[in-house]
Symmetry: C2
Amino acid sequence: MPESIPIAATDAQIAAVTFNEDGLVPAIVQEQGTGQVLMMAWMNADSLRTSLETGRTWFWSRSRQEYWCKGETSGDRQYIREAYYDCDGDTLLFVVEQEGKGACHTGNYSCFFTAFGPEAESGAEPAAEPAAGD
Amino acid sequence: MPESIPIAATDAQIAAVTFNEDGLVPAIVQEQGTGQVLMMAWMNADSLRTSLETGRTWFWSRSRQEYWCKGETSGDRQYIREAYYDCDGDTLLFVVEQEGKGACHTGNYSCFFTAFGPEAESGAEPAAEPAAGD
């Protein structure tokens, strides 16, 4: 099992994050090494702190109105290796070591498996390293 | 100048996108080739259609309440090479050819240039291909 490595964020860093009117901030999850974008979900202040303190991704479910830890039931856990906030402080980026079968509840490795366009097929996942000049 | 390549999305694909109560959907922008996550901004139905039709990224500014085309004033344009929606249809991912000095108005190449953690410094951009075991 990968190691959980806490990130010791400073109070100033936490304070730089802006939450929306529902107290939430979007969190992009990207796979370490491949760079593949795996998913986007929402964090509130508590789940952000818990994520940084535990080194695992914790989100807030808007539909279920509850905290969830990615992979806690599926076993497909995410171990945080880097965490960033953007220039406006209103979006987060987590670079993770993805365990198991991937990030998507559908069984796809990434949640972004459907492309726009005439050739698009469900199941056509974006390449971890997209081909140049495509 | 890179070529603008429209994406001929089907009506079913467009209909699969879910917009929030403000009529917006978050759009992640990732650089082709490097996989670096450059920015996140919001699209409404019109800016999504315009993005796909023109092959350039068009967003809706929540603060200014207006459309904006990335790079139209700065020259740092984004040419869409792949476009995806996620399993829930409530987040978009655009893989782009980034022109010029990058995506961030601060002058950083990516908007995600500030890391959480004790070693974090402004200007420490996430590596395009993050180092393993970091």
